[in-house]
Amino acid sequence: MSNQLLNMNKVVSGADEAIRDIQDGMTLMLGGFGLCGLPENCITALVKQGRKELTCISNNAGVDDFGIGLMLKQRQVKKMISSYVGENAEFERQLLSGELEVELLPQGTLATRCMAAGYGMPAIFTPAGVGTEVAEGKETRNFNGKDYLMEMAFDADFAIVKAWKGDTMGNLVYRSTARNFNPVMAMAGKITIAEVEELVEPGELDPDHIHTPGIYVHRIFQGKDYEKRIEQRTVRVKE
């Protein structure tokens, strides 16, 4: 064994470099649930870059002034593939005017179609949506007396995710419910970009605690100025 130290360096200078080769018309996966665990730096860079006709696979569509909402405002998005797109007036306007195409999928179907891509499975079966309009045009198949829809693995040009910590080899660790769709999307991109709150050297992350092995990640950088906006601030009063 010759290589005693792994140094597969995937570090890029920042969001602009990470997304440099995204082109008009591409399909992007964007991690996060609501405004939690969003790749904020990359979204800012995407808005600045100004590519058009993008298809975005993301559980939600952000709000008017945060998250994918910022890209919608600039009319960069041709199509959203999501499970829930509430709380966004500009989104609603574009949808009703026909400027924006939306494909709504059950949340589990969305997640599992990402996982399927990352696990090299061309299709999966799920009962979600059987007997509903989600089933239209899809193959239904009965196993053990229960009907399932066959849903295809996603095919995304880029997956853009946000992790808590990552090392220069692309290994990622997420924090709390900011994990959500990020690991399944990280596995699923032809090119996967990870932005992290803290970038560390190989060996600083415990191998047992890595959520996304670096093999799935192509570019990584330490993001800055995370706003981490809260969508629904709910609290209780100390008694």
Binding site: G34, L35, T132, T234
Partner: protein, 218 residues
């Protein structure tokens, strides 16, 4: 008649010790407040958490710790975090014992509609279609009639469906109903001050009334 709190309290009685429970947005969320202290119940939030706790104290909100309704929450000791694929994996594999959610319509064969009104802005089904298609045990918490005064317990749903043949039980402000496998809403309990006649008048689907119907005790 029950108020929302009453509906939540009555549903809480359906929860058993050791249950893993997924609570939808709205009245179902309130149910958490009425699970008896003596019972060990773990709440699943489909964005990737088992062991959801109460809202944080003011100033202790963590933007990385939210529930499926995007509300800031806390995590109890013994919580576990997982990704969205595993979250719906455990839902599909029926590891979640009970799902409680709201509805716009339920049909007498257990179909449910709760995500879309044609002509209105559609926000999406979120995890509802996965939950209703997978859960063994689904309780619907809803008002018995809509704002126009029309029954939400119907022979057939008129709105786009969320799932078929899945609802097992319904709790409304008027009563508690089993949805029978062979079809029909079987009246189990009446809300205080509500007569069987009142319930018949408010129920468009096939209502089954057998024997004396006790009043709800909460």
């Amino acid at each position: 008649m029950l108020d929302k709190t009453g509906i939540a309290k009555r549903i809480a009685k359906e929860i058993k010790d050791g249950y893993y429970v997924n609570l939808g947005i709205g009245i179902p969320t309130l149910v958490a407040n009425y699970i008896p202290e003596t019972m060990d119940v773990v709440l699943q939030s489909e964005n990737g958490l088992l062991g959801m706790g109460p809202f944080p104290f003011e100033g202790e909100e963590d933007p990385d710790v939210i529930n499926a309704g995007k509300q800031t929450i806390t995590m109890l000791p013994g919580s576990a975090i997982f990704d969205s694929a595993m979250s719906f994996g455990m839902i599909r594999a029926k590891k979640v014992n009970l799902t409680i959610l709201g509805a716009m319509e339920v049909s007498e064969n257990g179909d449910i509609a709760n995500w879309k009104i044609p002509g209105k802005m559609v926000k999406g089904m979120g995890g509802a279609m996965d939950l209703v298609a997978s859960a063994e045990n689904i309780i619907v918490a809803m008002q018995h009639v809509n704002k126009a005064g029309e029954s939400k317990l119907l022979p057939h749903c008129t709105l786009p469906l969320t799932g078929v043949h899945c609802v097992k039980k319904i709790v409304t402000e008027l009563g508690v109903f089993d949805v029978l496998p062979e079809g029909g809403f079987k009246l189990l309990e009446r809300a205080p001050g509500v007569s069987v006649e009142d319930i018949k008048n408010a129920t468009a689907g096939k209502l089954i009334v057998e024997g004396e119907i006790p009043e709800i005790v909460i």
